[in-house]
């Protein structure tokens, strides 16, 4: 005998970090079936991109994965620069790398803090946001924006690094190393946190591949795939870093992979700071007065590693100043589709943690 309850989680619910709706069929506390409805944040970015100049579209990509804005910009600009055969000066590439990694750290800080809230720990959230605030101060110094930065532009970056920014980054990195361990300790020292994460939300690697899952979720299932390592962009081939994987395939594995990636990000930033050369920070072909005249022709599909996985951008240009078609292959969109499989048969409390560990961002799912 079974007692069905149909529970509606979302669109606005503390556990859905963003707005999607999970219609959960419950047999007492056990999840029998999950039906995901998305589209509550469909902001037609792809349509608007067709109406705007190439250079203006960066802001819409900023707002896709809104917690990891730098990597989104980078994804778009890589595509545009490939389309236009635009060279990016060396200094600008290193600056982009530093910013992309900082942004990755900032995004992870939100994810980890929210995971803490979801398991019922209030405290780590505030500590992670304190760290995130420091990164945002660096962004403000560099670009003027806190979160949706619009820092990179075609052919380089908006503004050069000055000594203040470099010192701030160095200061942040120095403090963050210890702070990260402290935050992680808050989680891993708790027996209950282990109890709730180990063995829940298991994702088998073949299912993950079948559904097109990428990013930390795929790595936590045991497949060491990272765009930064496998097909390096910027200068990721000139720095040393490791791609962590987890064998356990569960929520705890995902958490630990994310944490280890934070450590690797710190490593990358340190190497970048050491290697940062002097030189121009934008390509003179894309100077401000000429930006609106940049044209592109042909098809291009490039990808970068964003905080939630492989972010690919497809652009078709018809030789005009506006793109003919822009399409984003967003990782969260795919990652979210496996939630029903991961959650089936588990308790509702596990479902909540599974959703948190997927860490999908609504802006990127719906675009």
């Amino acid at each position: 005998m079974s007692h069905w309850i149909e529970l509606n989680i979302g669109p606005v619910h503390p556990a859905t970090h963003g707005i999607y709706r999970f219609r959960v069929k419950l047999n007492e506390e056990t999840v029998e079936d999950v039906d995901i409805t998305i589209g509550y944040l469909h902001r037609n970015a792809e349509k608007i991109c067709e109406l705007n100049y190439f250079v203006n579209n960066t802001i819409y990509f900023d707002r896709m994965d809104y917690i990891d804005a730098m990597n989104m910009e980078l994804g778009y600009l890589r595509a545009v620069e490939t389309l236009m055969d635009m060279e990016v000066p060396e200094r600008a590439q290193w600056i982009r790398m530093i910013m992309a990694e900082l942004s990755r750290i900032a995004a992870r800080m939100v994810g980890i803090g929210a995971l803490g809230l979801d398991v019922g720990m209030l405290t780590p959230f505030f500590h992670t946001f304190h760290e995130r605030e420091k990164i945002q101060n660096i962004f403000v110094e560099a670009s003027g924006g806190r979160q949706e930065v619009n820092y990179m532009s075609i052919g380089g970056v908006y503004q050069d690094f000055n000594d203040t920014i470099i010192n701030e980054i160095k200061e942040f990195i120095a403090g963050f190393k210890g702070k990260l361990e402290e935050i992680v300790k808050m989680f891993t020292d708790s027996e209950i946190f282990w109890q709730r994460n180990v063995g829940t939300g298991v994702l088998e690697p073949d299912i993950a591949l079948d559904y097109g899952v990428t990013g930390p979720m795929l790595r936590a299932s045991g497949i060491p795939y990272d765009v930064r390592k496998d097909s390096p962009y910027l200068y990721y081939d000139k720095v040393n870093f490791d791609v962590p994987i987890a064998k356990s395939k569960d929520n705890m594995g995902r958490f630990l992979v994310k944490v280890e990636e934070l450590r690797q990000s710190v490593r990358i930033i340190e190497q970048c700071l050491a290697k940062l050369p002097e030189g121009p920070y934008f390509n003179p072909k894309a100077k401000k007065s000429a930006m609106l005249l940049l044209k592109g022709q042909g098809d291009v599909f490039t990808r970068v590693e964003s905080e939630s996985g492989e972010f690919g951008v497809f652009i078709r240009g018809d030789g005009n100043v506006k793109p003919y078609r822009v399409h984003a292959r967003s990782p969260s969109f795919k990652n979210l589709a496996v939630v029903p499989i991961m959650a089936k048969g588990s308790l509702i409390a596990d479902l909540i943690i599974t959703i948190a560990s997927v860490d999908a961002v609504a802006g990127e799912v719906d675009r």
Binding site: A15, D118, Q195, A349
Partner: protein
């Protein structure tokens, strides 16, 4: 000499019956006002303390240092519209917060507050069975929660109630058994080894508790503390509410002052459970010169316990319901049985 008797003497011109009635009333009000004030201070401390742990400042704009924050909250809740859900079970919906509120107030009246200088004993109730009454009342509060959860006909509230019931059943038995062990131990004075009476009243237990029972049976203290966290239902055992999963569990559909009652019930339970632990296991108002400042001892012990509770609240994640039921039945219950046998052997030994 007790405060009750003194008030009775002041009003003795009204005759025996009326003056006793008046004395009970006045003292209840005095005690409740005191409890309410300390309760307000407690929530203020909780907020500041939590903020401090979380690198924040906490309320500091309302009144000096934000002291009036809770008054503002209360005023707002009173002025708030109370929405009645359409599919509610009307009577159950309306009566549930009242049950929680009244039970919380009643429980505070039963506490023997100890002696204070000129006033003597501050206890309101001089019944011989306050222990039984107290745990009776503690069992009434869940009824309010269950009624509130089921009557709103909301799925979140229903799930929250199911969890709350499962939680209540699995911890109340170990709790009661560990209290039984206290009653057994306090049936004989461990100073003289003589049989003594008064083991069913809180004040009787406290008066016999020269060495705190927490030292004699630490296992009992542990079980009782865990049970009391579950009873007060804060993190890690806030299963009935579980903010991030079930919005706010059985209180989801309550608004305005009706929600305020539940809110008071939650914090009141934290306070009450700290009182109970310090009475039963930490010696209550016992200490040097306790006939003058016993009340202060009780108060200090309780407040330290409250702070420990808050620390647990903000630092520990929520346990999953099946793990909690496991904990209750597989660990707490056998342990409390062991504790009970140990208490019996202890009594035999001191005899």
């Amino acid at each position: 000499m007790s405060l009750l008797f003194r008030i009775h003497q002041w009003f003795s011109f009204l005759g025996n019956f009326a003056s006793y009635g008046l004395a009970y009333l006045i003292q209840s009000i005095v005690v409740l006002i005191f409890v309410a004030l300390s309760f307000v201070a407690l929530i203020y401390i909780f907020r500041k303390y939590m903020a401090r742990i979380q690198r924040r400042i906490g309320p500091n704009r309302v009144g000096k240092f934000g002291l009036l924050q809770l008054i503002a909250d209360a005023l707002k809740l009173i002025g708030k519209e109370s929405i009645l859900p359409e599919n509610r079970d009307d009577m159950a919906y309306k009566i549930a917060p009242v049950i929680v509120m009244i039970a919380t107030i009643l429980a505070f009246v039963l506490i023997p507050f100890g002696d204070l200088a000129y006033f003597g004993s501050l206890a309101v109730t001089h019944s011989k069975v306050t222990l039984v009454l107290m745990f009776g009342i503690l069992s009434i509060i869940p009824i309010g929660e269950v009624l509130g959860g089921i009557s709103t006909k909301s799925n979140y509230a229903l799930l929250g109630t199911m969890r709350a019931v499962a939680k209540d059943i699995s911890f109340e038995i170990p709790m009661m058994i560990s209290v039984l062990a206290i009653v057994i131990v306090s049936s004989r004075s461990y100073v003289t080894g003589d049989a003594i009476t008064g083991g069913l009243s809180l004040s009787g237990i406290v008066s016999n508790e020269i060495i705190p029972y927490g030292i004699i049976e630490p296992l009992g203290l542990l079980i009782f503390f865990i049970s009391m966290i579950a009873r007060a239902s804060y993190s890690p055992f806030d299963l009935g509410e579980s903010d991030s999963e079930l919005i706010s569990g059985y209180t989801t559909e309550y608004s305005g002052m009706r929600f305020g009652f539940f809110y008071i019930g939650l914090f009141g339970m934290v306070y009450l459970s700290s009182f109970l632990i310090s009475l039963l296991y930490l010696g209550g108002s016992n200490g040097p010169y306790d006939s003058y400042v016993g009340f202060i001892y009780l108060f200090i012990k309780t407040d330290i316990l409250v702070l420990i509770s808050f620390l647990i609240w903000v630092a520990i994640p929520r346990i999953r319901i099946d793990k909690f039921v496991d904990l209750g039945w597989k660990y707490l219950l056998p342990l409390s049985m062991v504790n009970l046998v140990y208490a019996g052997l202890f009594v035999l030994y001191i005899r």
